[in-house]
């Protein structure tokens, strides 16, 4: 184990080299014994080749020490293997990780440049971008949206999905113990940093809302289709529409797509978002029956087909929830971008053309939203988990819907993941 400490622009950078296993962790503890933890610290992991639970405990010890000293702490250049161990430990969302020591230093400096962010004016409104992390984002897919719109869900296609406090996902599912309990009521579902909301298709049009306290396996969403944003977010974006001129969700995505083309070399045409949006007018939709094979329409057509749509979906013709705050989890595919780096089959399992999304030509979006009244104003954090939990804790829960693209927004805080890969969701409990 080797530790080399240097200082860059007022931030200490400690480069850790070797294997942080049971043996290496003991050595590392000796190396940092007696050190002061009262100034910003980057632990550079470029040459860290291995991480075990003892290594994770070492990282935790340093995190606790810096936190006690009131100083910021981040990791940089974590290699893929070490990153997966960190993720397994549940800490990947809690210790910020940057792609390079230089990026980490910039983020921890908190100097004027970093605080102000990068500003862009667009037709939709103004955007200010702040880098918050640089792990490669992925979307993990479980099941297939085609089984939903073709009304082809069978009990075998439904999988139990445990959920986690740092989870952002959307899909179709239900809570319940036995198949006969959950299968008939599966509906739109969303998971936002530890809050799960779903809209049972039991005819009552009342969302069910829960906050699991532990990541234990006791709470499992039974799902026929789910898409999860994984790997943390890359940027935290402040969006403000021109006064009196709210922007639609589609316009916001379009602007983010177009800016990504200019700004990000890692743009692959797909974004995963978590958003706190101040709503001018929400257009929602919701499936009203569980899309089980046994419920398939007599005409054999998709439930989104014009002949079936009204019987299967309730969708807003007039805006709702004016003045509310929406917490949104969503993803978008930019049809004008080069999408060749993304697995097309998996992409198709996440997006479908909803006939209620009128006018979409250049992008396909899939968003689920939870609406709150009397939400506290934004708390100044750039951690979306923290921001969302504030709204959940202090706001008044109103509703949950699949969100249509024409929904209008006055301002928003947006955590953006530049998706590098769409994967099979293989994580089980």
């Amino acid at each position: 184990m080797k530790l080399e400490v240097s200082e860059r622009d007022g931030v200490r950078v400690a480069a850790l080299a070797g294997r942080l296993d049971g043996f290496g962790a003991k050595e590392a503890e000796k190396l940092v014994a007696g050190a002061e933890f009262d100034s910003p610290l980057v632990l550079d992991c470029t040459e860290l080749t291995y991480l075990s639970s003892a290594g994770v405990r070492f990282l935790l010890t340093v995190q606790k020490a810096t936190s006690a000293g009131g100083a910021a702490f981040a990791l940089s250049a974590l290699q893929p293997f070490c990153a997966s161990v960190l993720e397994m430990s549940g800490l990947s969302g809690m210790i910020p990780v940057y792609a390079s020591p230089a990026e980490a230093v910039r983020a921890l400096q908190g100097g004027s440049g970093a605080a102000e962010g990068e500003r862009h004016e667009t037709a939709a409104g103004g955007f200010v971008f702040h880098t918050v992390g640089s792990t490669a984002g992925t979307i993990d897919i479980l099941g297939d949206i085609a089984n939903v719109i073709e009304c082809a869900i069978t009990p075998e296609l439904v999988a139990g999905k445990p959920f986690f406090e740092t989870e952002y996902s959307l899909g179709l599912g239900a809570l319940g113990g036995a198949p006969e309990d959950y299968l008939p009521v599966m509906g739109e579902a969303v998971m936002l940093a530890g809050t799960m909301v779903w809209l049972p298709t039991d005819g009552n049009d009342t969302p069910d809302y829960m906050i699991p306290r532990k990541a234990s396996t006791s709470v499992v969403l039974q799902t026929g289709f789910n898409a999860s944003i994984r790997g943390g977010f890359n940027e935290f974006v402040e969006f403000t529409a021109a006064p009196g001129c709210p922007a639609s969700v589609r316009e916001i995505y379009r602007a983010l797509f177009d800016l990504a083309k200019l700004r990000r070399t890692d743009y692959r045409g797909v974004l995963g978002l978590a958003m706190r949006a101040e709503i001018c007018g929400a257009f929602g939709a919701g499936i009203t029956k569980s899309p089980l094979l046994v419920n398939r329409p007599a005409n054999g057509k998709m439930i989104t087909d014009g002949s079936n749509y009204d019987a299967w979906f309730e969708s807003d013709k007039t805006p709702r929830h004016q003045g509310s705050t929406a917490l949104i989890c969503g993803a978008g595919e930019d049809l004008t971008a080069d999408l060749s780096a993304i697995d097309q089959d998996r992409l198709r399992r996440m997006f479908y053309l909803n006939p209620a999304n009128k006018g979409a030509q250049h992008e396909v979006l899939h968003n689920h939203a939870v609406f709150f009244g009397n939400a506290p104003p934004p708390g100044g954090t750039r951690d979306m988990d923290v921001e969302m939990r504030r709204v959940v804790d202090q706001g008044e829960f109103l509703d949950m819907r699949h969100l249509l693209d024409q929904t209008t927004v006055a301002s928003a805080l947006i955590a953006v993941s530049y998706v590098q890969e769409v994967r099979e969701d293989t994580r089980e409990d």
Partner: protein, 137 residues
């Protein structure tokens, strides 16, 4: 394909795990992804024995036997430490914030996540842990 290695009760012995598992992986055709899982599982369990097994320093503490058959990796860790079944340990709460995290329990949690089956037996005065993992195609 089978290989085994013995470890003394000394943390410095842990440095043997990487070459041992890498040699085995090369001989048995274990893909990189599974090699990492193998290294973690062996590392975590042998570390536990050395740290908490109560075996006097420098004495034989654990034997690790590895085998690949029909695309399944089997890891058997036999230790002469005090009687202890780590599989009974409750999973740690991985959602707690960094500040609230208790120390410990994470290693066994990793082992459970990285393997499909885990079993424990107390045989002839030794703890025998058997874990299996299906190799990725």
């Amino acid at each position: 394909m089978k290989m085994s290695a013995d470890f003394l009760s000394d943390r410095a012995e842990l440095t043997k795990i990487e070459p041992f598992t890498a040699d085995f992986a090369a001989a048995a055709g274990v893909p990189d992804k599974d090699l990492f899982a193998l290294q973690i599982v062996v590392e975590e369990l042998v570390t536990n024995v050395i740290d908490y097994g109560g075996v006097p320093a420098g004495q034989p503490a654990a034997r690790v036997e590895l085998e690949v058959a029909d695309g399944v990796l089997t890891m058997v860790i036999t230790d002469s430490g005090r009687e202890y079944n780590p599989l009974l340990r409750e999973d740690p709460d991985v959602t707690l914030s960094a500040e609230d995290r208790p120390i410990g329990g994470l290693g066994v949690h990793f082992c459970k996540k990285l393997t499909e089956t885990q079993s424990y037996a107390r045989t002839a005065g030794k703890n025998v842990l058997t874990l299996t993992r299906k190799l990725s195609a």
